[in-house]
């Protein structure tokens, strides 16, 4: 029993030695892989086409575009709406100049470039937003007062010299000022107050009551604008100090610190408060002011909410390669891999058994007149193959792993024996001949065979036939053929890369007739060549065989080939009385060199 630990030792050693073994494959492997991958990719649907993630990305982009388009359309509508509102306001200004609060401020701005109408707008919005709950009550109070004062102002033809004390008292009540000291100081300093300080004073007074500030500011600013417009209407002039007062009032409105505001509690400013209250009385149509202010505020609000145009926004879009195209498609096509063809050349020698297979179609004249029993025997000849050989050369090409094509040139010397059943003895020359010889002699007579020394040229055949004597004795003659063969064969090889491989061969062979010598034992010989016009100069034969290849080295192989050849057409010409379909068995020994 084997020790398991020893078994493990054996496994471990081999595993350790080979588990991480590495051997670089030849470059042809990757070339083959790449070629197959290229071939496969031609039939592949592009990857991006069937990746759902990319479809999602495309859908997202479309959705994003739709949303962006919607926003753009909305923005476009808003701009149109806004421009329509502005034109409406302008129309109102034209038709009712007294209601043009905005226009008044613009005119003021024109007269005093240091002031921007936007600031007034901002103040209005801020004032409204700071204490909206207080607005209605104060507004009503001021409005009621203003109505009375307006009627008085119309009667005074634009002069702003009023009973300041009364106006101040009324103003104190109207605007809810509780600091009586300030009011007193104001009344004392009233004669020295200049209109330029009217706004500052008004704002300062208002600033002392921060809770009431928004309402006051709204009313005060409205009054000042109205006052300007009224002045403009009445006198065609604008008091230059009004604008500066307005600018200062705006600055003061931005101050939330009461201390700062208190610093402004100067007599002049209190006088300005008086002036402001007086301005309140000059307000011609306070009721008309409210809708104008409302329109202004709404237009401003819409303007403030208008988004910045798209071109000014930083839009961060993620970069995505939605339609991914593999880089491999950009690569240059690989050169086609040409597998090197293998050629080989070989030589061999083939001992063979050659049988000419000659048949008598028509009995020669000398045999035709015989009696039946003798005639039958005389005309029955037998072909017996003799020892033959062929010298072969081959050249071939390996078409694929298994298939090959080869051609060659061979010289065949085919020996055979013909045993005739009887012979005819020429009465004149006393020369015997069997039926084959006699037939050839007949052909010689017909074609005047020049190479038949035994019989010479033209002999008096009819005389000979007439005087011939039949001898019932067998007569054998040797047939010696010579052919030049050009075989073309295809081969299929099993185990082509193994030490021992097997090839099955098949093909056609052209046999070029060189000569034939028909020789009798007596020495008589009939030699025929292609020029005699008896044999076909070329006849076709089919060939097949089985070859054993033994690999001697990478280049050299030894082979043993068994062949069978059979003519598929007669060796004699068609109009002859003889017929021959030679066939051959042979075993070839040879060597082959591959290059």
């Amino acid at each position: 029993m084997m020790d398991p630990s020893e078994t493990d030792n054996f496994r471990n050693q081999w595993r350790k030695a080979l588990e991480n073994a590495s051997e670089p494959p030849p470059p042809s492997v990757w070339e083959g892989i790449e070629a197959r991958l290229d071939r496969d990719e031609k039939d592949i649907i592009p990857l991006w086409w069937r990746r759902p993630r990319l479809w999602y990305a495309a859908a997202s982009v479309i959705a994003l575009l739709l949303v962006a388009g919607g926003v753009w359309v909305n923005q476009f509508d808003s701009v149109k709406e806004l421009s329509g509102t502005s034109s409406g306001v302008a129309t109102t200004h034209k038709t009712s100049p007294q209601l043009d609060n905005k226009l008044g401020s613009e005119q003021t701005s024109d007269a005093h470039p240091g002031v921007k109408p936007e600031n007034a707008n901002e103040e209005a919005i801020a004032a409204v937003s700071e204490q909206p709950k207080m607005l209605p009550e104060k507004h009503l109070v001021v409005k009621g007062r203003s109505t009375k004062e307006v009627s008085q102002k119309h009667q005074q033809n634009g002069e702003i010299h009023l009973d300041t004390k009364n106006s101040l008292a009324e103003t104190k009540q109207d605007i809810g000022l509780e600091d009586k000291n300030i009011l007193r100081e104001t009344s004392d300093a009233l004669p020295s107050v200049k209109p330029e300080n009217a706004k500052e004073g008004a704002i300062a007074a208002v600033s002392e009551q921060p809770k009431m500030l928004p309402e006051k500011r709204l009313v005060v600013r409205g009054i000042s604008r109205k006052e300007v417009s009224q002045k403009h209407q009445q006198n065609g002039e604008i008091h230059p100090d009004t604008k500066s007062s307005l600018a200062e009032a705006k600055q003061d409105l931005g101050l939330e610190n009461k201390n700062i505001l208190r610093e402004k509690e100067q007599p002049g400013r209190e006088m300005a408060l008086f002036e402001q209250s007086k301005s309140l009385t000059q307000m011609g149509n306070v009721q008309a002011m409210a809708p104008v202010a409302s329109n202004e505020n709404s237009a401003l609000a819409v303007h403030a909410l208008t988004p910045v145009s798209y071109s000014e926004l930083d839009v961060f879009m993620p970069k995505r390669y939605i339609f991914f195209k593999p880089e491999t498609l950009k690569e240059e096509p690989l050169p086609e891999i040409k597998k090197r063809s293998e050629y080989y050349a070989g030589v061999g020698v083939m001992p063979a058994s050659f049988n000419p297979n000659v048949q008598i179609k028509d009995a020669p004249v000398a045999f035709a007149s015989m009696q039946n029993n003798s005639r039958h025997k005389a005309l029955t000849g037998t072909n017996k193959p003799g020892n033959s050989f062929a010298l072969q050369t081959q050249g071939g090409m390996r078409l694929s792993k298994h298939w090959s094509l080869e051609m060659g040139v061979s010289y065949l010397k085919g020996n055979a024996k013909y045993e005739g059943g009887g012979q005819v003895l020429d009465a004149v020359s006393a020369r015997p001949s069997n039926v084959l010889e006699n037939a050839l002699i007949g052909l010689a007579d017909k074609h005047a065979i020049p190479n038949s020394p035994s019989y010479g040229g033209s002999v008096g055949m009819h005389d000979m036939y007439a005087s011939s004597i039949y001898l019932d004795v067998n007569r054998n003659v040797n047939n010696n053929y010579q052919y030049l063969q050009l075989p073309v064969q295809a081969g299929f090889t099993l185990n082509p890369d193994k030490k021992l491989s097997y090839s099955v061969l098949g093909g056609m062979m052209a046999n070029f007739f060189l000569s034939n010598e028909l020789e009798a034992a007596s020495g008589n010989m009939i030699k025929t060549t292609p020029g005699d016009d008896v044999y076909r100069s070329m006849n076709w034969a089919a060939t097949t065989g089985l070859r054993f290849n033994y690999k001697l080295s990478a280049k050299w192989k030894a082979n043993l080939t068994g062949s069978y050849q059979k003519a598929i057409s007669s060796g004699f010409k068609a109009n002859q009385s003889l017929e021959s379909h030679p066939f051959l068995y042979g075993v070839s020994w040879g060597v082959r060199y591959s290059f």
């Binding site: 492997v29 083959g32 491999t328």
Partner: protein, 189 residues
């Protein structure tokens, strides 16, 4: 060579030719050595390696990152080699065989004295059935019951074929006479 296995796999999944080439460059040598062990000659090994890489590229999408990539690649190559051997009818007649002890005292042989090519050559010269089973059992680490299931043979056949392979290899190693010392030990692997 440094490489990111995850990126390599993803590149191959996207059929990126550069990634495919890099995968081949990284693992081609090891996988070719496996092919050499399972086949009879270098030409067959090249065919198997080519087929295996085509399979790898086509099926890389099925690879999950829960195991090392090299194991997965090895398994693909081994399976491709087995298919190749089946096509070549090498695995046709795998029978239970009787193993004879040769009676020769085996010596402890250090395989480190041999070159990898020599050892691969020894394995290639084994009879086909022995060769496969030796590879699967001794190198790849499969158990006999797994080999039996994989090749459709009995477990006894796997054991006996392996024992035969072991005996042949012992003889080959002893014949080479590359021992770590000159002593003779009555010890087998």
């Amino acid at each position: 060579m440094t490489f990111n296995e995850h990126d390599l796999v993803n590149g191959c999944k996207q059929r990126n030719r550069l990634a495919q080439k890099q995968l081949y460059d990284v693992f081609g040598g090891k996988l070719f050595a496996i092919c050499m062990r399972y086949t009879r000659n270098r030409s067959d090994a090249e065919d198997v390696l080519q087929d295996a890489f085509i399979k790898i590229y086509e099926n890389i999408g099925t690879f999950r990152n829960d195991s090392p990539l090299e194991y997965w690649l090895r398994s693909v190559v081994v399976n491709t080699a087995l298919n190749h051997l089946r096509q070549q009818k090498y695995l046709k007649d795998l029978d239970d065989i009787e193993v004879y002890e040769n009676g020769i005292a085996d010596r402890e042989v250090t395989l480190g004295d041999f070159q990898m090519q020599q050892l691969t050559g020894f394995i290639q010269e084994l009879p086909p059935g022995c060769q496969v089973i030796f590879n699967l059992y001794a190198i790849e680490g499969y158990q006999h019951n797994e080999i039996a299931q994989k090749l459709g043979i009995s477990e006894g056949t796997s054991k006996s074929q392996y024992a035969r392979a072991r005996g042949i290899l012992q003889q080959k190693l002893n014949r080479e006479k590359r021992f770590d010392d000159g002593s003779v030990r009555n010890r087998q692997f």
